[in-house]
Symmetry: C2
Subunit: 144 residues, 2 copies
DNA sequence: GACAATTAAATCGTGCGCGATATAATTTGC
DNA sequence: GCAAATTATATCGCGCACGATTTAATTGTC
C-alpha cells in the first residue's frame, strides 16, 4: 500500500467521466440505430457524408478523427450494406472517394428524428449541453 | 438530398465531441501505460482496486460501468500478467473476488506520476477541467 | 426440502479502435 | 528521367465494448 496521490483517485480524474459518458451516450443511440443495422461509428460517418458527399477516406478520417485501419473495414461493411460506394479517384489513384447511394441518403430522412428523440428521452438540460459541448470542443482542439 | 435538420449536423451534436474527446484522451494515456503493458481500461480497473481491493467482478462493474462480458477476459489477462488474483468467494461461490498482487500494488507507485504528467503535457486549464468534470458527472448520473 | 426465480460470472459473436506495417501511387530532388 | 521520399489506403493483430445467451450457485415460496 503506497501513499495515495490525489490524482490517482478515480473520482478526481477527468478521463474516467469522459470515457464513461461517451460509452453511456453510445449505448443510448445503439437501440435506435440497430433498427437500421447501423453502429454508432457508422452513424458518425453517415453524418459526415450527408454534409459533404464524395469525401476521400483521408478527409473522412480528418473529420471523424479515425484512421484507415478503422475506416477501411467500416466503409467496406457500409458498402456491403449498399449505403455507399468506394470509387478510386481518377486523378489520384491512391485515393478512394466515398459516395452515398440512394439508400445512404434515405437514411438521412429515416434517422432525422433520432437526435430530438434522445433529447426528449433524457431531458438533459439544454444549457448544460451547450456548455459541455463548448468545453469538449476546446479540449479536442488542444489535443488534436 | 433531404431537408437538413439542424440536429443532424455533426457540429451540433453533443455525442460526437464526447466520443472524440474520450478517444483522444485515451490515446494520450496509451504510450505512458504501454511501458507497463497496460491498456487504458486496465488502468481504470487498477485505480478502482487501489482504492478498494478485494471487490467482486460485479462491484468493479458497478464502478467502471462495465459488464462481465468485458471484465472477465480483461481480468483474466491481468491475472496472467500477475497483477491480481481471482478468488472464488467462500460464502457465495457465484462470486469472484479480485485481489491485487504485490505487483499490482507496485504499479500504484510506478504510475503515480502519470496524472500530473498529462496535466503538464497538455497544459489544459484546471478551472475548465473542473467544470467539464462536473458537467460530465451530471450527465452520467442522468444516464446511468 | 423441492423447485422456480434470481443472481454472478462466463462465453460467444461482431464491430470497433489503433499501433505497426505493407502496398501502391505520386511527388521531389538531383 | 529516375531513385528516394512522401502520401493514401489497406492489412494484421490484439484488446476492448456489448447484446445475447449459458452455466452454476443462491434465494424465495410453498
Amino acid at each position: 500500500m503506497s501513499p495515495t496521490n490525489d490524482h490517482q483517485i478515480l473520482e478526481n480524474q477527468l478521463c474516467f467521466p469522459l470515457y464513461a459518458a461517451s460509452r453511456l451516450v453510445t449505448r443510448l443511440y445503439q437501440p435506435l440505430l440497430e433498427q437500421y443495422n447501423l453502429t454508432y461509428t457508422q452513424y458518425i460517418v453517415l453524418m459526415i457524408l450527408w454534409q459533404d458527399d464524395g469525401l476521400s477516406v483521408k478527409q473522412i478520417g480528418e473529420k471523424s478523427l479515425l484512421n484507415s485501419n478503422t475506416l477501411t473495414p467500416l466503409l467496406k461493411r457500409m458498402q456491403q450494406a449498399q449505403l455507399l460506394e468506394r470509387i478510386k479517384n481518377k486523378s489520384d489513384e491512391r485515393q478512394v472517394d466515398i459516395k452515398l447511394t440512394p439508400k445512404g441518403w434515405q437514411l438521412k430522412q429515416d434517422l432525422a428524428c433520432i437526435p430530438q428523440q434522445l433529447i426528449n428521452q433524457t431531458d438533459y438540460d439544454t444549457e448544460k449541453g451547450k456548455q459541455l459541448k463548448t468545453l469538449l470542443e476546446q479540449l479536442i482542439a488542444q489535443l488534436k
